[in-house]
Amino acid sequence: MSIEIRHVSKTFDSFQILKDINLTIPTGELVALLGPSGSGKTSLLRIVAGLEQADTGQIIFQGRDLTDSHVKERQVGFVFQHYALFQNMTVFDNIAYGLKVRPRKLRPSKSEIRQRVEKLLALVRLEPYGRRYPSQLSGGQRQRVALARALAMEPEILLLDEPFGALDAKVRKELRHWLRHLHESVKVTSIFVTHDQEEAFEVADRVVIIHDGKIEQTGTPEQVYEHPANPFIYDFIGSANRFEGKISQGKFIDGSFETEAPDYTHKTIDGLGFIRPYHFIIEKNNPGKHSIRAKIKHIRTIGPIVRLDVERSDTHNVLNVEINREEFRLLDVHTGEFVDLRPKEVQIFPMNESS
């Protein structure tokens, strides 16, 4: 079932949380709504579910306008951030709930319900836990119950609100893979909200970046990562070092550092440059105008990579640089030493856009 969001706007207490959102999601796609907290992504998801009403705009499922219909009629599966399991029911009853509350004519028989719940328990790998209560499960298990509960009514649309937000890093990774796998087997149109870019890139077919109630960019994880549409996105997805300088005659200049900017050949304007921490070549004693001279302030080893905090000699701004352990060992540098950093890749944006 496809989802179409048309011109949706929403205001909370004079604060406009969504500004004219337009988005179409084809049947079977898994889309991540990615954005910092307060960007409006959860509100958008809740509007799609019918838990909240948009001030203007339409929500259309498979050509049917459901803007004014109740949550109940939309028949979407919704997974809440903090699971929202029914504490007074066993895992089995939680999953069976959506089937049991159906009107008598549409309700499956007891044995059918039992079969269906058991199948779902197997799907979320919780077969032995049917008779337990939610309080007796771990966070990851609870979230799997919440997913099974949402899937029990066989929805054609699945909405997930920061589904892994409350879990620890390892469980989160596991569930991410599992969700991806699940989506491939069930093929239900899904939207999931997250503020974690790694999660979005790993799970989603398409990433929609939301900021300040507006869609900033839509695209596959590769597209968004390789070609961020604006400085905000570049900064938001993955860490980046920011350079404020001038663009003039095909060059970007900040302090004593300059680099080519062939897209901007004419006038002199203010510009922003971004360099990823791992896009530096570190050299000892190779100064030049395409390099940045800097002093090493801190060295931290995190697993296979080494993170350096360096202070620029010209502007005294601090840059983050990452190299792998092997390179670091060959380079043989220590805190307090001066090095020359040669960027491999610089992304340049003119300043007049939002920054």
């Binding site: 109940k72 919704f78 929202a84 029914f86 504490q87 959506g98 509350v101 009514m153």
Partner: protein
């Protein structure tokens, strides 16, 4: 090295002295509390039963089955049977509206709910005399249609409703505020309607607090004197609840009968307190 050992010993003796001191303080405070409770709760309670049985069990029972006494017991139970369910329903509704919706004037409403606690019950009773009695146009209209509220059972019920209506919602509001609406939302997304959501999701989550509120409401409905005294008119055998009947008997020097009825009320109070204790235990266990 030596000095460290020394100071260690001295600090240890200090700790011991401290703990002895705190032991003395602890026990003296506990005994003060116990003596106070004994004088002001246990002694009067024993006195009630002692006075009630002073002239033997047969006098005790005959003063209870005396028609006016029985009528007062019956009236008190009828009032409680009507007031408690009404206020339980109203309390749930009120707590639901306060915690699940947001609207203008909500804070005013939350403040207003406590009015019966802050206003003297006598004034509560007077309000209804003024409203339904012959001093108001509405009251005269009611009387001309032979609807008698004041100095009659409906007046007693209304006054008791007024005095006891905060109990249930006061218990529910903090709990429901804490629980939020997310479980209800989950239920709606799973296709349940509002009734199903209430009975299957909301009610099980609030049941202990609800019972607790009902017990408190019940205790007050049985024991209410001030507001009821104003509206009842003290018609023996008709509009006398147990507390009013006890007062009447006492004023007429029927001490044994007064204390016999008082002993029944005390028994009800003790049962209520035991139930309350059990509820509190359950609530603590279910919240853990």
């Amino acid at each position: 090295m030596e000095s460290i050992v020394q100071s260690d010993i001295s600090s240890r003796t200090h700790v011991i002295r401290q703990s002895v001191k705190s032991k003395i303080v602890r026990w003296s405070l506990i005994s003060v509390v116990l003596i106070f409770l004994f004088c002001f709760l246990v002694v009067p309670l024993i006195a009630i039963f002692f006075e009630a049985f002073r002239q033997g069990t047969s006098v005790y029972f005959s003063s209870i089955i005396e028609p006016d006494a029985l009528a007062s017991i019956r009236l008190t139970l009828i009032v409680a049977l009507i007031v408690v369910p009404v206020n339980a329903l109203f309390g749930i509704l009120f707590a639901w509206v306060i915690t699940k919706y947001s609207f203008k004037g909500k804070n005013v409403l939350v403040t207003l709910i406590d009015l019966p606690f802050s206003v003297s019950p006598v004034i509560g009773g007077l309000i209804f005399i003024l409203l339904f009695g012959q001093h108001s146009g509405f009251g005269r209209w009611l009387m001309s249609h032979h609807i008698e509220i004041v100095f009659n059972v409906p007046g007693i019920i209304i006054a008791t409703l007024f005095v006891t209506f905060p109990f249930v919602s006061r218990e529910l509001i903090p709990l429901m505020e804490n629980q939020g609406t997310v479980a209800e939302e989950a239920s709606l997304t799973l296709g349940a309607n509002a009734m199903q959501t209430f009975f299957r999701v909301t009610l099980p989550n609030i049941k202990w607090a609800l019972f607790y509120g009902i017990i408190l409401c019940n205790a007050r409905a049985i024991g209410e004197f001030g507001a009821v005294s104003v509206v009842s008119g003290h018609i023996r055998g008709v509009t006398n609840t147990m507390p009013l009947q006890i007062e009447n008997l006492y004023n007429e020097y029927h001490f044994v009968s007064a204390f016999a009825l008082a002993s029944i009320m005390s028994l009800l109070a003790i049962i209520t307190m035991i139930l309350k204790g059990i509820m509190e235990n359950y609530m603590r266990n279910s919240s853990n």
